[in-house]
Symmetry: C2
Subunit: 420 residues, 2 copies
Amino acid sequence: MTAHGTVSSKRPSMAIREDRLWQRHVEMAKLGATAKGGVNRQALSAEDIAARRLLASWAGARGFTVTTDPIGNVFVRRAGSEADAEPVMTGSHMDSQPTGGRFDGIYGVLAGFEALEALEDAGIATRRPVEVVAWMNEEGSRFPVGAMGSAVYAGRLALDKALAVADPKGVTVASALAETLAALPLPGVKLGGKVAAYVEAHIEQGPRLEAEGRTIGVVTAIQGSRRYAVEVVGEEAHAGTTPRAARKDALSSAVGIVTALEKLMDDPTDTVRFTVGRFEVFPGSPNTVPGRVYFTIDFRHPEIAVLDERGGRIAAVAAAHARGCAVSVTPLTDVPPCVFAPRIIDLVRDSAARLGLPHMDMPSGAGHDAMHIATLCPAGMIFVPCLRGISHNEAESATPADLAAGARVLADVLGALADR
Amino acid sequence: MTAHGTVSSKRPSMAIREDRLWQRHVEMAKLGATAKGGVNRQALSAEDIAARRLLASWAGARGFTVTTDPIGNVFVRRAGSEADAEPVMTGSHMDSQPTGGRFDGIYGVLAGFEALEALEDAGIATRRPVEVVAWMNEEGSRFPVGAMGSAVYAGRLALDKALAVADPKGVTVASALAETLAALPLPGVKLGGKVAAYVEAHIEQGPRLEAEGRTIGVVTAIQGSRRYAVEVVGEEAHAGTTPRAARKDALSSAVGIVTALEKLMDDPTDTVRFTVGRFEVFPGSPNTVPGRVYFTIDFRHPEIAVLDERGGRIAAVAAAHARGCAVSVTPLTDVPPCVFAPRIIDLVRDSAARLGLPHMDMPSGAGHDAMHIATLCPAGMIFVPCLRGISHNEAESATPADLAAGARVLADVLGALADR
């Protein structure tokens, strides 16, 4: 056994190639590259289509099959020895935030692909097929429902509802998906095939692994998250002539509401995650009193009781600070906390230990596609460190060695699962 | 003398045609018409060019000359009997807010043009030329310096500085102006020719005339106004993983700053006008902690002492609520309060009285091009009512009869000034 080999004594030696994995990251980072070194590769954009084309070309070169389902998830399959066996699945997403980094999502796809290539390089025949999936629209930044592709796959979001979601320009998922498929035709598969097990690799997107000097995060759970849209409707008026008493100022109302919500979400333990990330003011002219504000709330916590109690008070708090405007609060998504399967958690921990990689158990602060797939089959995740925990930021950074270490654990776990 | 005639006994009878004036408003409202009955005809846009072309075609049909100056103001001149006499000038602007109304600005241009046509119809020769001007970019909504064309004309804003102002897409005034002139070539004139007197007609954009049942507002002054840009720079971060203590949340900071500024601007007499009209959040993704916010402050008051005292505290109040972000406050414009010339005020008041029109003296809450031209020559304004005082709003409304009444007073006053 070498540092680059896996520890399973039952199979031929399988080698992760750190250089190849890094080079694939470099190639993908060109698609939607930003001036500040990040990527802007939003779901079903031209850049996303280019990423799909690149992945498909790599898969074709290795003889893997590439398919897509009705919500635009892409599957790369390496066949198993039992044709009818349910596949073991790994993957993540290729879409990014508008000012996103080079590793969030794409790492899980490329680490999975490296595992497939390592199996292929070593000539290992697995009983089950092993599939790498690129889930559609995990970020939810263009189409405002995150983890959309995996939610539809798991039956937690209706296909029709997902297809009807529109981006800020009014383009629906259905329309963008049709364009994507026209640009890159792929054989279609049915929605939601059965899965034997699912393991997703991802950068941590938080500071803990780096702070504690560990290479592998053994992910035990994902905190729950809820998203809301708030619309405040007042009345446009002239900034110079309209007395305050006669105004229905949507910006002033929205500022009061956000202030009150920050108070509602106040938490001495700093466990609550409360974010207003999109905040749009109309018409947006310096000398016009704003007539309308639209903003989003992202609210997360590991405990469902906290999500229920504070989440349930958002609408009343918003209404109490309307200042003469009409306020509506619309729940967009509600993802309960997710606890991963003990046997997958154990496999990841054992593999890291046998490979001699410093590791720790930890929950995930971010949501991931794994939270939906965990409702279908035993699931788990593997985290690797990222610089200063910075993510959803063009400055996102990770080292080739850490990325390869995570891929090594992933390949090991997938190999074990594929022979069960 | 009839209700449609003027009262001057020194000149032949001059008739304002209410139907013609209304029809010209209907034609102009088609250029940039919005679904809700308003207009979006921002400075130097395709719609603004169409409005310039229409005005020029009407002017050509009556034998008036049309010229433009280096900042894109458009002048329609009816010659006087003394070729070298300084002209009497009237006018306003043709650009609108992004969701603007059908009367703000364009009324002053069309009322002035109706006055020119009434003089022409009646065959009246005036001593001085009478000019109708359409000032460029009064609204400042696309290019964020309001009353730009008149400020440059009056020498209160340097031409080079104005030409360098860019819209949110990065298009400069210089570039948009070159496109405008290419689309509609007009003979050029030098900047800032001398003016004998200036009178501007405008809808009130406030509720007082309607509330008090008056048709004509005799405008005595314009309150002063200052505009500022505030930029808050924090750090983008993942909404699910980043603890509050580790965040530099630009939205949270900006909300705190606006709240503190509202307190600074609090005024029991409701005379202070404080508006945050543009407020932009970047990157604007629901699950990313905002890294940057840009917002504008519009602050107005009739007294320069109040403008100085409270305006001077804005930067310190903003800095005190930075919450770990970097905050910069940039003054954009500073227009002192303007008091109009007593002899113009008297002429407007006397004309309204002689025409039997209910009238009242009043200051203007809104800024107007007249505030800049008042530094060059005796100046004044005429207000007519608008429904509920609603302006900078697609629902802006005024009656044909009130518009014609204002044009009648304007024609009367221009006629008197042009013979002095």
